[in-house]
Amino acid sequence: MSEPMLADYVVIAAAEAFRGDGEIFASGMGTIQTLAARTARSTFEPDLLVSDGEAFFVGNELPIGGSDKLIEGWIPFRSVFDTVWAGRRHVMMGASQIDRYGNTNIANIGPFAQPKAQLLGVRGGPGNTISHATSFFIPKHTNKVFVEKVDMVSGLGYDRIALLSEAVRRHHRLPRVITNLAVLDFETPDHSMRLVSVHPGVSVADVQEATGFELVIGDNVSESRPPTGEEQEVIDRLDPRGLRHREVP
């Protein structure tokens, strides 16, 4: 068993986003996110469904990049959309920009008509955030990412969803945001972003300095927990090549 490094703290903090989710599709966009979903399933949230990232639910403990799959279901893209709109999913996405209410942008930097940087496009962000729980992993926490206002709303934050009807609002939930520095959530009266915990060696001031808006900071910001021995073994098994350390060195 390896000693927990920063990436291991990040993976277990991200896995915690899925705690209590039960028998739904835990979906991850990216290495850390996928590792988080699979770690949660292999430890404290065994009822989760996880996919191979292509078109199948896998019933075995599938390492990142592994191909030895026990297929327990078929989930081509149109079934993914069905599952999204039915709400039986919690996705962890990335974000190039995020604001205090959790509006996120993966589409473009600068104006849509002629962006300074064209990114992916909104992809499934609008449908995800309006349909079910959406969490985020951000590998590099800086005030270029944590901004006052995002350039294009791919994923809806709490202020945007508040403008829509109750029927829509009830499906919207942004459980947590995990970064290389900290864990954040929106559990405040007006749903503005709150600092939950800092990773080892990171101070509260470090996080605020890397954030382009004022965070809600309580009196007892804790330190993020390390994985337990068992959890660490699971993470090492799921990521034998250590790809997580490339994302969070």
């Binding site: 081509p76 893209f77 849509f112 309006i130």
Partner: protein, 290 residues
């Protein structure tokens, strides 16, 4: 006997004209009808509206200046997240009318088109930037007791559709053998009869349609297809499971060349100026040398 609909890529493209709306099946850099896209690149046809879950199809057409309008949920090469030609086109403002939708909205638009409905309702897109940048979108109030306000995704009707499948018979019954049909059936369904083109790895007899896959794989029937093009390796360099995976090395060479005007000119000269057969030979030569 059913009709033999076999034609070539160039036959298919010769039926098209400037300003058409063309839907392209597949997803990102997966099972794209690339031999038809390459034939379109060789043609003088322009001012197109493209509808796609975009990959190198969109990148190549954008680089060639053929796209006036595009309806899309994303453009990506999957293993290379950002499509370099698409980025350059968007950042230079050369795409006159980009219509960006949520991925599920695009499915709904094609499904509505294929069912001859004016729209289909959804929540996906409400409140998001999609509404900000698409002022043509309208909402509708549920006529039932819930009274919920929903987004009415307008139907897309296509003038032409290109999809690439694993197998097809000469009359257009087509089969996907890989993990996902994507939305290929909806692209064909949303298209006006006359220009619905299926390319495939291999044309087989209709007696062979169950040789390699179960009946569940026969999601495209001949009433949805006007032309069948046999195009071995026709999805290259995108994936066409289980016949072949994505040619990652070639995709990387494509993306690298796309980043620089001189390199792109050389790439075009080497791979995209001749026929489809020339392309396939050039790829083989490239592989032998690298």
């Amino acid at each position: 006997m059913t009709r033999d609909k076999r034609i070539t890529e160039d036959d298919a493209i010769a039926t098209l004209s400037d300003g058409m709306t063309i839907g392209i099946g597949g997803w990102g850099s997966r099972r794209k009808p690339m031999s038809l896209v390459r034939a379109l690149l060789r043609s003088p046809i322009k001012d197109l509206t493209i509808v796609s879950y975009g990959g190198p199809d969109v990148g190549l057409l954008a680089a060639a200046g053929k796209i006036r309008k595009i309806i899309y949920g994303f453009v990506s090469l999957d293993s290379i997240a950002l499509e370099p030609h698409w980025r350059a086109a968007r950042q230079s403002g050369s795409i006159a009318e980009p219509v960006e939708y949520d991925e599920g909205m695009l499915q709904w638009a094609l499904y509505a088109g294929s069912l001859r409905l004016p729209f289909l309702p959804t929540r996906a897109g409400l409140g998001s930037g999609v509404m900000d940048v698409n002022p043509h979108l309208r909402t509708i109030t549920s006529p039932y007791a819930d009274g919920e306000e929903l987004l009415a995704v307008p139907a897309i009707r296509l003038d032409a559709a290109f999809v690439h499948l694993n197998r097809a018979d000469a009359s257009g019954n087509a089969q996907f053998l890989g993990p996902d049909l994507y939305f290929d059936d909806l692209f064909l369904g949303a298209c006006e009869p006359g220009h619905r083109f299926v390319s495939c790895e291999k044309v087989i007899a209709n007696t062979q349609l169950l040789d390699e896959g179960s009946f569940h794989t026969l999601r495209i029937n001949r009433s949805m297809v006007d032309g069948v093009i046999e195009a071995p390796n026709g999805a290259h360099f995108t994936s066409c499971e289980p016949d072949y995976g994505r040619d990652e090395a070639f995709q990387k060479a494509y993306a690298t060349a796309a980043a620089n005007a001189d390199d792109w000119a050389a790439f075009t000269k080497r791979f995209l100026t001749g026929s489809e057969a020339d392309y396939q030979v050039a790829v083989k030569d490239w592989r032998a040398q690298s």
